[in-house]
């Protein structure tokens, strides 16, 4: 099996971003960027499938600015064999990313494409499903377990009522949830080795696909402020407060 895994460079999940005062967007100028956490789970899943002899090649792909080669390096250090970097400095919506990934899929012909379930910047949770739609492939989103099952896969998904297990024929799309695995840490030797792995860098424009955004972002605002409240001195005081709401009369 050949696996393609899509990784995105995002503002690190520990950074508390600030909205620009003029409402034009989020100030990311001095922010720390990292590989999207969900993508790390996707890479880990791909590398584990390879380590268990189920995959013979893991190709990591990213779409983004020149700087996004740093997240490819993370994927390569974790064990991906080679990278593909489609360079664009433009904002790309999931639809555009899905179209570019489709072009890569047509070149690379993987049996499985792994993606994160969502990117923690746009929180879109769209790209994997859109790629599956464009390719007309089966999809298993929000995966918390992946097993090889004959010549297909068995995937457990996190759903609203708990979990559900599905059988998929390959080629297929799977998106990774956080409980899929524990992504490995990489140390300097892996990073040094990763730097020698091949990366095919091209401009996204070369693929001749229209990737202009379809949605117009009119403004970006901070969420309503939550002022702190009062300290409660004792449990019985808290009982009064809670009982009032629970009784169904007064709202808290």
């Amino acid at each position: 099996m050949k696996i393609l895994v899509a990784v995105k460079r995002v503002v690190d999940h520990t950074v508390r971003i600030r909205v620009r005062p003029d409402g034009s967007g989020v100030d990311t100028d001095n922010a720390k960027f990292s590989i999207n956490p969900f993508c790390k789970h996707a890479v880990e899943a791909a590398v584990q499938l390879a380590e268990h002899g189920h995959a013979d090649e893991v190709v990591a792909v990213t779409i983004g600015p020149a700087k996004a080669n740093d997240v490819l390096l993370v994927a390569l250090a974790m064990g991906a064999d080679r990278g593909i970097h489609l360079v664009t400095e433009e904002r790309t919506e999931p639809l555009a990313v899905a179209k570019l990934l489709k072009a890569v899929v047509e070149e690379e012909k993987p049996d499985l494409v792994l993606l994160g379930k969502q990117a923690v910047d746009d929180d879109a949770n769209q790209t994997g499903q859109m790629l599956a739609g464009l390719l007309d492939w089966p999809q298993a989103t929000f995966a918390s377990a992946i097993e090889v099952n004959g010549d297909g896969l068995k995937v457990t998904r996190e759903v609203d009522y708990g979990r559900a297990t599905y059988a998929l024929k390959t080629p297929a799309i799977v998106t990774a949830d956080l409980r899929l695995n524990e992504p490995r840490n990489t140390a300097l030797p892996q990073v040094m080795k990763a730097k020698k792995k091949p990366v095919d860098t091209r401009t996204a424009a070369e693929l001749g696909i229209d990737i202009a955004p379809r949605l117009m972002v009119e403004k970006v605002a901070p969420p309503p402020d939550r002022a702190g409240g009062q300290a409660v001195g004792s449990v019985s005081e808290l009982v009064d407060i809670i009982a009032e709401v629970a009784a169904g009369g007064e709202r808290a």
Binding site: Q129, P138, D160, A164, R214, V235, L238, A252
Partner: protein, 316 residues
């Protein structure tokens, strides 16, 4: 044109989130039809017809649709594309799975997790774990949305819309993921995304056994039970109890957070809470800073006492 809303249900009962989405879509200014799709969904179809402001309910009842896979649902929506200008679903596991797939097939960009509707093509959605809200205009040929139900109050249920059957489209469905087995969390607590009171616990509970303290308090209050990712990862609570950026969004009148630090990914799910009570040994925990009522204390002392006193007070 009109709006097609994919109903949320568990096959037997319609979820209240559907009525919330109907209320949200009122601001689009077009008639709303509800699509009830699944196996043995007659009851849910009837419940959908009672939602105020619905033009009609279209029921597709087919045993083959028990699992409601994204591949099949996307094809069904596609067969209706000429009848509607807007397609919407609830931003739960099904809506999130299906609508982007469907949108890609239409070659349009969907707007997911909508928290405000400003008209037919202007919407607000949270980004960066809710630390920013973007207002987007969508000039696509078709508008495809998922609605965050906790951001809206439900429409009333004294309507009586006509119910019509909807046929399974003739188009063959692409190779689909085949449903094998469900692992259902057995619990009779209210639905997190629509509950009036939510009690949640964090990693500080320390074990699945101690997490029962949270469930007991919730049961006294008739509340839904929630958890942090850390508590779910540690298997103290099932995954469908997770609240936050990648879990469920809640908007109760009262949220009681016990032994929860308030990481920004957790806060992403509780922005709609009207009042927050936090119980934590650390007065400086981020959640204590924004809680309406904060009690500094050890949950192992506070929670049993709180539960016992509330039980007495509420006669339960």
């Amino acid at each position: 044109m009109a709006v097609a809303l994919l109903a949320e249900h568990d096959l037997s009962q319609l979820s209240e989130t559907t009525a919330r989405a109907v209320a949200a879509l009122g601001a689009v200014g077009l008639p709303v039809d509800i699509l009830v799709i699944g196996a043995n969904v007659g009851v849910a179809g009837g419940q959908a017809a009672a939602i105020e402001g619905v033009r009609k309910v279209r029921v597709l009842d087919d045993v083959a649709l028990e699992a409601r896979g994204a591949e099949a649902l996307a094809e069904i929506l596609l067969s209706l594309k000429d009848e509607y200008s807007h397609f919407a679903a609830i931003a739960g596991a099904i809506g999130k799975d299906v609508l982007p797939r469907f949108a890609a097939k239409l070659d349009v960009s969907p707007v997911t997790d909508v928290i405000a509707v400003h008209g037919p093509n202007r919407f607000d959605r949270p980004i960066y774990a809710g630390n920013a809200i973007e207002t987007v205009t969508c000039n696509e040929t078709k508008i495809v949305l998922t609605i965050r139900p906790s951001a809206f109050s439900p429409a009333r249920s004294d309507g009586s819309a006509p119910i019509e059957p909807l046929a399974t489209p003739a188009a063959s469905i692409a190779d689909a993921a085949e449903f094998l087995v469900a692992h259902r969390t057995s619990s009779d607590t209210p639905d997190l995304s629509t509950a009036r009171i939510v009690v949640a616990g964090g990693i500080a509970l320390g074990s699945v056994h101690h997490f029962e303290m949270i469930e007991n308090l919730a049961s006294v209050l008739g509340a839904a039970v929630g958890a942090t990712r850390a508590a779910v990862d540690a298997s103290y609570a099932p995954n469908d109890w997770q609240i936050g950026q990648t879990g469920k969004a809640i908007a109760p009148d009262l949220y009681i957070a016990i032994g929860i630090s308030g990481a920004l990914q957790h806060l992403a799910g509780i922005q709609g809470a009207r009042k927050i009570v936090a119980i934590n040994t650390d007065p400086d925990a981020p959640l204590m800073q924004i809680a309406d009522y904060r009690l500094v204390g050890d949950l192992f002392e506070v929670v049993p006492q709180l539960t016992a006193e509330l039980e007495k007070r509420l006669n339960r």
